[in-house]
């Protein structure tokens, strides 16, 4: 573990926080990806703005490539059936729980929302427990 992994993490986090700040101060909206994404098919949402956010989100890694000359690294460990099950759980769970790592994790914690603090505690603990169980059982 060196400082070379901590600085990009901190600065990347800063960029995400700045993004959430922009969306709140300019549009008055929570930068929660699960809410914005599902806002593309729900009624009563700013659909065009949501589509613009999602488009920007997809283009973000390309901006990274322009700046650093390569795309970020990505290694997927899970097998296809595990990924599909995980995707279903993440999609269903974030909608049932009204948020994910961004809506509850970044904006909710920044607002000191008791609901978000509870949600973050639960999803962090559950995720840590899931990884631990998979390590013990050798599942991937």
């Amino acid at each position: 573990m060196t400082m070379t992994t901590y600085w990009p993490a901190l600065l990347g986090g800063g960029a995400i926080g700045l993004s959430a700040t922009l969306l709140m101060l300019l549009n008055g909206r929570v930068a929660g990806v699960s809410g914005i994404l599902s806002g593309l098919w729900r009624t009563g949402t700013p659909r065009l703005a949501n589509l613009a956010f999602v488009t920007g989100l997809v283009l973000g890694p390309l901006l990274y490539r322009v700046a650093f000359g390569r795309l970020p690294e990505a290694h997927v460990e899970a097998s296809l059936p595990v990924l599909v099950l995980a995707g279903l759980l993440v999609g269903y769970g974030t909608r049932l729980g009204s948020g994910c790592t961004s809506g509850h994790g970044v904006v909710g914690l920044a607002r000191l929302s008791p609901r978000s603090i509870a949600a973050v505690a639960v999803f962090l603990l559950t995720a840590v427990a899931t990884v631990a169980v998979m390590r013990l059982t050798g599942a991937s």
């Binding site: 709140m24 703005a49 920007g56 989100l57 993440v90 990884v131």
Partner: protein
Amino acid sequence: MTVARVLAAGSSGLLFGFGLALSGMLDPARVRGFLDVFGPWDPSLAFVLGGAVATASVGLWLSRRLPRPAFDERFHLPEARSIDGKLLAGAAIFGMGWGMAGLCPGPAVASITLGVPATLAFLAAMLAGMAIHDRKATRLGGRAGLG
């Protein structure tokens, strides 16, 4: 107003995606390493959440002192207050999937650009999971969440 709003949302999304790419959150193996507290734990990604919450706190503090956002009549904040079963069950189900794959919604969407087939399969399943919830919620007349 609409044009300004769309440009603001697009810029916010772009900065979000760039931040995810810079932070290391687009690498599911690293995310799982961060969650692997009982294994060779990699704590570096805690700095992503720390940096994001610290920066967003300034913005949210400012928003409480402004009468309205620049391009809208009011701030749209979640109205729910109670910590109920739906919130906790949803968070637990999400946490399980996050631990299994090392992907949450933001990185899953931003990773489209990386073109990793496994991540695209996750994204398709995630959208299906969201749609399954929202169809059921609409049928039952439930309120849609804001996260």
